[in-house]
């Protein structure tokens, strides 16, 4: 799948997308032609289409060397920067939740939403290869959710998130959770424009996961150890797990909780609140500095 728009073998769909064509957003960045429908609608879901990138070889000439020094993920990063600017403009606090499948992300989300939805706008982008099951679970809490099916894709990319964002109205000052595809490998490489990555690890997994999947734990600001209510029945060594996580990321914060029993949930809600405020404060400081700079010019 193309890191830019999910074209090629990826079969991505975003719920609620109405267009079949590729024309509703600018693709002037593409130099390859799209002789296929890239976005396909199925009910409330949207598929990013498929079909390989085609380019044709024309004339032949002398071969020569070209130095280009270009980052391969530059396009994803460009989209991520656009997303980030968009989030900032709305003071929208965005978290990219990453974990293995079955770590309890969706349950954690529904429990979190139930605790904060009365005082804060909340929305969710759900990434899965197939089905809208998770988005349905989120919608039961009453907050808007958009399901993005990545098809064969193993991660969400910034372009998909940009599309999904178009589906929401008025999230100003709120919190957007992006539940990435359950995968501890690929999502680490793709910036979505989020404020933070949050890695969720359940105690039913091995405590050495941070060492087995170091890139993910390195990229995350916060590790949530979920399902701690099950600890009495397991041989999971919490201290060791935290130690392993700090080996790959000395700065990582850790919150132990159980979305089912509610233990530790208040610490997590507090973290959300503090960091959301912190983000807005940073923005205020930035704008104030800019304003002072301009005032000095009058």
């Amino acid at each position: 799948m193309c890191t830019v728009c999910g074209c090629s073998e990826g079969n991505v769909r975003i719920e609620g997308e109405l267009s079949h064509s590729h024309e509703h957003h600018s693709h002037d960045h593409h130099t390859h032609s799209h002789d296929h429908d890239v976005i396909d609608e199925q009910g409330d879901n949207l598929h990013f289409g498929k079909g390989p990138a085609h380019a044709h070889v024309a004339g032949m000439s002398q071969s020569r060397m070209v130095q280009i020094e270009q980052d391969i993920l530059v396009k994803n990063d460009r989209y991520a920067a656009i997303n980030r600017a968009r989030f900032e403009a709305q003071s929208l606090f965005v978290l990219n939740l990453v974990s293995s499948p079955g770590s309890g992300k969706t349950t954690l989300l529904t429990e979190t939403i139930n605790r904060i939805k009365s005082e804060r706008k909340v929305a969710v982008i759900e990434g899965d290869q197939q089905t809208a099951n998770d988005a349905d679970r989120i919608r039961e809490t009453g907050v808007p959710a958009i399901q993005v099916n990545t098809g064969k894709g193993c991660h969400l990319d910034a372009h998909m998130v940009g599309h999904a964002m178009d589906k929401f109205t008025d999230l100003e000052g709120g919190i957007l959770f992006i539940e990435n595809v359950g995968n501890l490998v690929c999502p680490a490489a793709f910036d979505l424009g989020e404020a933070h990555k949050v890695a969720i690890l359940s105690v039913t997994e091995g405590e050495d996961k941070p060492l087995k999947y170091p890139d993910m734990f390195h990229a995350a600001e916060l590790m949530i150890l979920n399902k701690v209510d099950l600890l009495p029945h397991l041989s999971f060594d919490v201290e060791k797990c935290i130690e392993f996580a700090r080996q790959v990321n000395p700065e990582i914060k850790v919150i132990q909780l159980s979305a089912t029993s509610g233990e530790g949930m208040s610490e997590w809600i507090e973290w959300l609140d503090q960091n959301r405020k912190g983000m807005i404060q940073n923005r205020i400081d930035q704008l104030a500095a800019e304003m002072n700079k301009f005032k000095a010019l009058i």
Partner: protein, 113 residues
């Protein structure tokens, strides 16, 4: 798994550059990949061959230049070599390391015509 996306990304860069630098065919690609770039180079070579079919880089040779990883050790206050995210400082054993190099993944050079 995401090596396929990365290979697609390479093709896009090549196509973009084809217009800018006016070439029609790519014969060789030199990639610089660090040990911390989350790339399995064998998988990438395999994907590269698959995605270049019917593109301007069909049958192009892919050369991967493996760079080395480096981190700043907060105990020793200097840069030390590392090859994994969870490596400790080879001199003092500390894990208080800040990666400074080795996560790059870029196209360095092309042979085109």
């Amino acid at each position: 798994m995401h090596e396929m996306s990365i290979a697609e990304g390479i093709i896009q860069v090549l196509e973009e550059q084809a217009t800018e630098q006016s070439y029609q065919k790519v014969k060789t690609v030199w990639l610089e990949i660090g040990p911390l770039a989350m790339i399995e180079t064998e998988a990438l070579s395999f994907c590269f061959e698959a995605v270049t079919r019917d593109t301007l880089a069909e049958r192009a040779t892919l050369h991967i230049i493996n760079t080395t990883g480096e981190a700043f050790c907060m105990q020793c206050l200097k840069n030390v070599p590392i090859s994994q995210r969870y490596d400790s400082c080879p001199e003092c054993g500390s894990h208080q390391l800040q990666v400074v190099a080795g996560d790059e993944m870029r196209i360095k050079e092309l042979e085109v015509e």
